[in-house]
């Protein structure tokens, strides 16, 4: 059971005359349906997860429309799905987080772009760049350039974004090029509205099948010798066709301004920030009317050379505002102007920083330099004072504070089943010495933060085992690779396990089997536990043991040393890790660390418990606590856990000065505190409290009798 999107699904049904209100990524989803998309695929990951999540949950409606939706096992399989549009007049859309997803998909994308497409192919990527990003900072633009795919970077206004999806399909069809539509994080989550139109049922669909396959056509294969012809076609036919479509339909917006001798060329996605910067500089009003003419590139590849040349010619200066590096657009414009011998001075990365998100402040710094060079005036000066004020204030605050503020990175959820493994790993290393730990993408990457600070490298999703292949032969001690079940199915099974087995590597792999691809939003996997109608005590437990696809797969592949350990058995986990690191077995050793994602478990049991309480049924609630007079204030327990509900408070003992540990509300009673106290021989201050709500009558009787005895024994 995942997050419910019932409200979002309702808004997908809106028709002409109705207004859609919601987030950008949902608007894109709606736009796909308005464009008559026939098939949708993808791999989830913020900030575009919702596109696929919503569609997967909206299956009944998709069936009604005849749209096929597939949650692909990785981005490569999503990209390969677009192969349907090579021969057939099918509009297809796939989605993933970029740059990482595009990297994984790039093989299929190259092979798709070479023969080109017949039906419109749209790739919606979440450009995970700037504040809030969770991946390496690179640009998707590079892929558009190298494979000759159109790149749409729409102005972050819901109406424009929707229109660009619809144009995106037609542009793709007009040019035979696949088109990428990139959305930055904030654009995915922007809340706005647009006037909806009716959804279009695709002509060919799961409800209206094609009778026969297309005829054999060698030109549609990415195989020599036609690949040589494809390359020529890109330059001779496809890109010119795309340019024509872009120009004819005014996809790029030319916004005039009174200083006609100056100009700003900007990526569509940066439009709002640019307008706010110009407002700060006194060069635009609240409705976006700018004093300096703007050329807003809603399509950043291919550029339309005539459009650029016309915009630049005769101006005193033009600045290109292009986020990220390298500055592909600026370079292309420079070449283009040079070849046409247009002498307009060109600015860009000379005034703007080469790296990092172009927030309003960053952009204002560059634009203020541009303005003060070409439009000196009072407004520019006041903007400079504002920027200077920010700098001064930052250093003033830093001076007031005694030391820099501690960071607050995301961490394992309360009751996360992955935390205990890091506790065990910390204990193991304390005994046998430090080991090289190859990290991976997923929730378990939070183990790189305090209090664990573990992991030597992260080479990509599912890559941990592969990334230690060069380390372990050089290292006296065995190495550890950590992988989530999400990463295992995405990539790790083949790049890691298969390779290690084939090469007879001596390595230790730990797989977190929590049942879901959790960090991307707890989507289901092939190893997700099935529906559970079990009895009460069974339902409270982790359900991951009910699906053993991972274990069966590993055995089938020939893994000889395989242990499945429940993560909350900290001492057993520590001993198993120790055994793996010291065993005489020299092949691949795999530990499946099993424990259901706590988010999912809570989603599963919370409504059920609420129902039990409502009907007066017996419920046992578990909470852990710390005896404040026994706690020694050393906080070793926190250094072994980091659980958000295990925190500290002032010491109630006036003799003692150091704060004591305390378990605050929100504890889900996972049991790690007790397990750690036992496994690491911590102080005896932890207790486990079981609160029995609606107890049975005989329980009350026994408790009453027992209570009176116990009271007699207790001193005050």
């Amino acid at each position: 059971m995942e997050v419910s999107f019932s409200k979002e699904i309702e808004s997908l049904r809106l028709g002409a005359g109705e207004t859609f209100h919601g987030e950008g990524i949902l608007a894109i989803t709606k736009a796909l349906l308005q464009s008559g998309v026939a098939y949708v695929g993808g791999y989830q990951g913020a900030p575009v997860s919702h596109l696929l999540d919503v569609m997967v949950q909206a299956k009944p409606y998709m069936d009604e429309l005849g749209v096929h939706v597939e949650a692909c096992s990785n981005e490569a399989s999503a990209a390969a799905m677009l192969g349907a549009s090579i021969h057939y007049p099918l509009r297809g859309a796939v989605t993933w987080k970029s740059i990482v997803g595009t990297n994984v998909a790039s093989d299929a994308l190259s092979n798709l772009s070479s023969p080109g497409v017949t039906g419109g192919a749209l790739i919606v990527v979440g450009e995970d760049y700037g504040e809030g990003a969770s991946v390496i900072q690179e640009r998707t633009q590079a892929y558009a350039l190298k494979s000759s795919m159109c790149l749409i970077d729409p102005r972050p206004d819901l109406g424009v974004m929707v229109k660009m999806v619809e144009h995106g399909f037609r542009l793709s069809e007009a040019s035979n090029m696949p088109a990428i539509l990139e959305l930055r994080i904030r654009a995915c989550h922007v809340r706005g509205s647009f006037e909806a139109s009716d959804n279009v049922k695709p002509a060919v669909s799961t409800r209206a099948w094609m009778e026969n396959p297309a005829g054999f056509d060698y030109m549609k294969l990415a195989h020599p010798p036609v690949t040589f012809r494809h390359e020529k076609l890109k330059g001779e036919e496809r890109i010119p066709a795309a340019r024509k479509y872009i120009a004819d339909n005014n996809l790029n917006e030319l916004l005039p301004g009174k200083h006609a001798d100056l100009g700003i060329i900007i990526q569509g996605g940066l439009y709002n920030s640019a307008i706010r910067s110009l407002q700060q500089l006194g060069l635009a009003n609240a409705f976006g009317d700018s004093d300096i003419p703007l050329l807003v590139l809603n399509v950043t590849y291919p550029l339309v050379p005539e459009q650029i040349a016309d915009f630049c010619a005769g101006k005193r200066a033009v600045i290109v505002v292009e986020e990220g590096q390298p500055e592909y657009i600026e370079q292309e414009i420079a070449t283009l102007l040079r070849r046409r011998d247009i002498q307009t001075p060109l600015h860009g990365k000379d005034l703007l920083p080469p790296a990092g998100e172009y927030s309003v402040e960053v952009m204002s710094q560059g634009l203020s330099l541009f303005a003060s060079a070409y439009l000196p005036g009072a407004a520019t000066e006041s903007a400079k004072r504002w920027l200077e004020g920010n700098r001064t204030r930052r250093s003033e605050v830093a001076a007031v504070l005694d030391k820099p503020l501690p960071a607050r990175p995301p961490s394992f959820c309360i009751g996360c089943p992955e935390r205990p493994v890091f506790s065990a790993l910390k204990m193991t290393q304390a005994e046998i010495g430090a080991v090289h730990i190859a990290g991976d993408i997923g929730c378990h990457a939070f183990g790189t933060f305090e209090p664990f600070s573990m992991g030597h490298s992260i080479l990509g999703y599912g890559m941990s085992l592969a990334s230690r292949a060069g380390v372990s032969p050089m290292m006296q001690r065995r190495t550890l690779a950590i992988m989530g079940d999400g990463g295992f199915w995405h990539n790790g099974l083949l790049t890691g396990v298969q390779s290690a087995l084939f090469n007879g590597d001596d390595a230790v792999l730990l797989i977190f089997k929590n049942g879901y691809s959790s960090a991307t939003g707890t989507q289901e996997l092939i190893s997700t536990p099935g529906p559970h109608e079990a009895m009460s005590s069974e339902r409270m437990k982790s359900q991951t043991h009910t699906n053993t696809t991972i274990e069966a797969t590993l055995q089938g592949l020939g893994v000889q040393w395989l242990r499945t350990v429940h993560t909350y058995k900290v001492a057993k986990m520590r001993d198993t890790l120790k055994e793996a690191f010291t065993s005489d077995f020299n092949g691949l050793k795999v530990i499946v660390a099993e424990g259901e994602c706590q988010l999912e478990r809570q989603r599963r049991i919370k409504p059920w418990i609420a129902k039990l309480l409502k009907t007066g049924k017996r419920v046992v609630r578990v909470k852990y606590g710390v005896d404040e007079d026994v706690c020694n204030g050393d906080h070793a327990c926190i250094r072994l856990s980091g659980c958000p509900t295990l925190t500290i408070k002032d010491n109630p003992d006036p003799l003692k000065v150091d704060p004591v540990a305390v378990v605050i509300d929100g504890c889900v009673g996972c049991g790690l505190c007790g397990e750690n106290a036992h496994a690491a021989t911590l102080c005896p201050s932890f207790y486990r409290a079981e609160v029995i709500q609606n107890p049975k009558w005989h329980e009350r009787l026994v408790a009453g009798l027992r209570g009176s005895f116990v009271k007699m024994l207790q001193p005050a």
């Binding site: 913020a46 503020l405 106290a677 021989t681 116990v710 001193p715």
Partner: protein
């Protein structure tokens, strides 16, 4: 109209606090009231308890008066150009102010006084918490106006989550041109119990922010808490009080009472005798009492804590008291009709049992355990989960608690007393040489705490400091070295900072502890 600019609000929240719901409410309210608005966020993986922000802009002229024109909103909060910041956590508020977000001539800051401590603050060996008063000072200095109250407490009181309280605070501040009924209509939605709780939280926060007097009381409370001194136990007998200067009395009363509770009158007398030695030395070093007998006061504290060292007997005693049962019932919020069962986790090992045995016997037990470890086994320990609510569990704990008579005959007692003697001698000796040196050594009592390995580590560190730093030829330099080593010892439990400090002051690093070596067979490679 063209001069109007959007009203901007930055929301700072932690994952799971309902920041997404809050922004949705605000956008809906704007729509309900007939204004153009836009929100953005960067949730990413921050839902996993990390810090995150949401950003909202509202155009303060009704859509109906815009003549079809659409304002262009920013997707980024603009530092120094925000109208308000609302935040559910004080350190996060300060972080955003530190990022330059708040302009003292423009920005209203509405923040919770509550703290959710970061892992970095929680995991320190001593007290790693940021100073709330310092954080609050930043809020005051860098805001046009500020509203501070404990949002978490208000949410709890209303039975809702903090997002509803934040909404009430925004509404109460009058930031946006919406009426209270606009907000409430949106929160009410289609009714339901959740909505009622949200409305309660909303109303309470609305009142607090719109009525400065209620809020001033909140802030007053917060500030007085900062300087709040825990209630001191009175009732120091006159003859004991007469033995010490009045500055020492408060701590002495606490320490003396602890000795009586821990062991008995004879032990309390030993405490007083020891304290007298230190007092005599301090009087000699500082006859006028210019330092306010600070060393004796500190020794009154640390000596009491050390002498009341935690052992099985003490823990069993603390865990089996009636007051403890009541405290646990309150902490876990057990209702009137609920049954409560409490299990205590213990894992006594050989040292814990040896502690209660005479030295000779204790050494045999410890030697046996060490032999086990050398043979590659884990140290012996007895993991116990004792049901304190059960008759058997309570009987077991009370039996252990009654072993005070055995404690003074045990090896641990002898060992602790010897160590205490050594430390006090160091304090007395140091004080005679230089008041400051004695004081610094006295403060090293802080290193002694806890159980098992933690306690051992503390004692080893203290011994090392006494042997290698306290005896330095230049008393003032020695005092500085001891102070530096003390704070370094609390920096990390591996003792890396301490070793570095020791070396920097010309002392040897702590000796390496012996540990069994494990050999792992590797497949044949060129290296073998």
């Amino acid at each position: 109209m063209t001069d109007a600019r959007p009203t901007s609000l930055l929301i700072c929240a932690l994952g799971g606090e309902g920041g997404g719901v809050l922004t949705e409410w605000l956008i809906e309210t704007a729509r309900h009231a007939g204004y153009a608005a836009q929100s953005t966020s960067i949730p990413g993986v921050a839902q996993r308890t990390g810090a995150t922000t949401y950003y909202i802009e509202v155009f303060p002229v009704p859509v109906a008066q815009l003549g079809g024109r659409k304002p262009v909103f920013s997707l980024n909060p603009v530092p120094g150009a925000l109208d308000a910041i609302v935040s559910s956590e004080l350190l996060e508020t300060t972080r955003q102010i530190g990022n330059g977000m708040s302009a003292p001539d423009r920005t209203a800051v509405i923040t919770s006084s509550g703290r959710t401590l970061t892992t970095q603050e929680r995991m320190q060996l001593g007290d790693g918490r940021a100073d709330s008063a310092e954080l609050l000072a930043v809020v005051r200095r860098f805001s046009r106006e500020h509203h501070v109250f404990d949002m978490g407490a208000v949410a709890k009181e209303a039975g809702t989550i903090v997002s509803a309280v934040m909404l009430g605070a925004v509404a109460g501040s009058g930031l946006f041109p919406f009426s209270r009924t606009d907000y409430e209509a949106v929160v009410r939605g289609d009714g339901g119990r959740m909505a009622q709780a949200s409305l309660r939280g909303f109303a309470r926060a609305y009142d607090i922010v719109s009525q400065p007097r209620i809020q001033a009381a909140f802030v007053g409370d917060l500030l007085s808490n900062e300087e709040h001194v825990a209630p001191i136990q009175r009732g120091l007998e006159a003859d004991i009080a007469a033995m010490f200067p009045p500055q020492v009395h408060a701590m002495l009363a606490l320490g003396h009472a602890r000795m009586l509770d821990y062991q008995g009158p004879a032990y309390a007398r030993l405490y007083l005798e020891r304290l007298q030695q230190v007092l005599a030395a301090e009087r000699a070093a500082d006859p006028a009492g210019a330092q306010g007998f600070a060393t004796t006061t500190e020794i009154a504290r640390w000596l009491a804590l050390w002498m009341a060292f935690d052992d099985i007997v003490r823990v069993a005693d603390l865990k089996s008291r009636a007051t403890r049962w009541q405290r646990v019932s309150g902490e876990v919020k057990a209702g009137e009709d609920d049954l409560l069962q409490v299990y205590d986790h213990f894992k006594p090992g050989a040292p814990e049992f040896a502690a209660l045995l005479p030295v000779g016997l204790a050494n045999k037990v410890l030697a046996w355990d060490r032999a086990r470890v050398l043979a590659g086994k884990t140290p012996w320990a007895l993991p116990l989960k004792i049901g304190t609510h059960s008759v058997f569990g309570m009987l077991a704990l009370r039996s252990l608690a009654s072993l005070k008579w055995l404690r003074v005959r045990g090896s641990r007692y002898a060992n602790e007393q010897a160590m205490i003697g050594k430390w006090l001698a160091g304090v007395v000796q140091g004080t005679r040489r230089d008041w400051q040196l004695g004081h610094e050594i006295a403060l090293c009592g802080r290193l002694i705490k806890g159980y098992g390995a933690t306690n051992e580590r503390g004692k080893d560190n203290l011994l090392h400091v006494l042997d290698h730093l306290a005896l330095g030829a230049d008393a003032q330099a020695a005092a500085q070295a001891v102070a530096a080593a003390r704070s370094a010892a609390l920096a990390d439990d591996a003792g890396r900072a301490l070793d570095a400090t020791l070396l920097a002051h010309g002392a040897p690093a702590r000796p390496v502890k012996e540990q069994p070596i494990r050999f792992v067979r590797k497949p044949k490679t060129l290296a073998s």
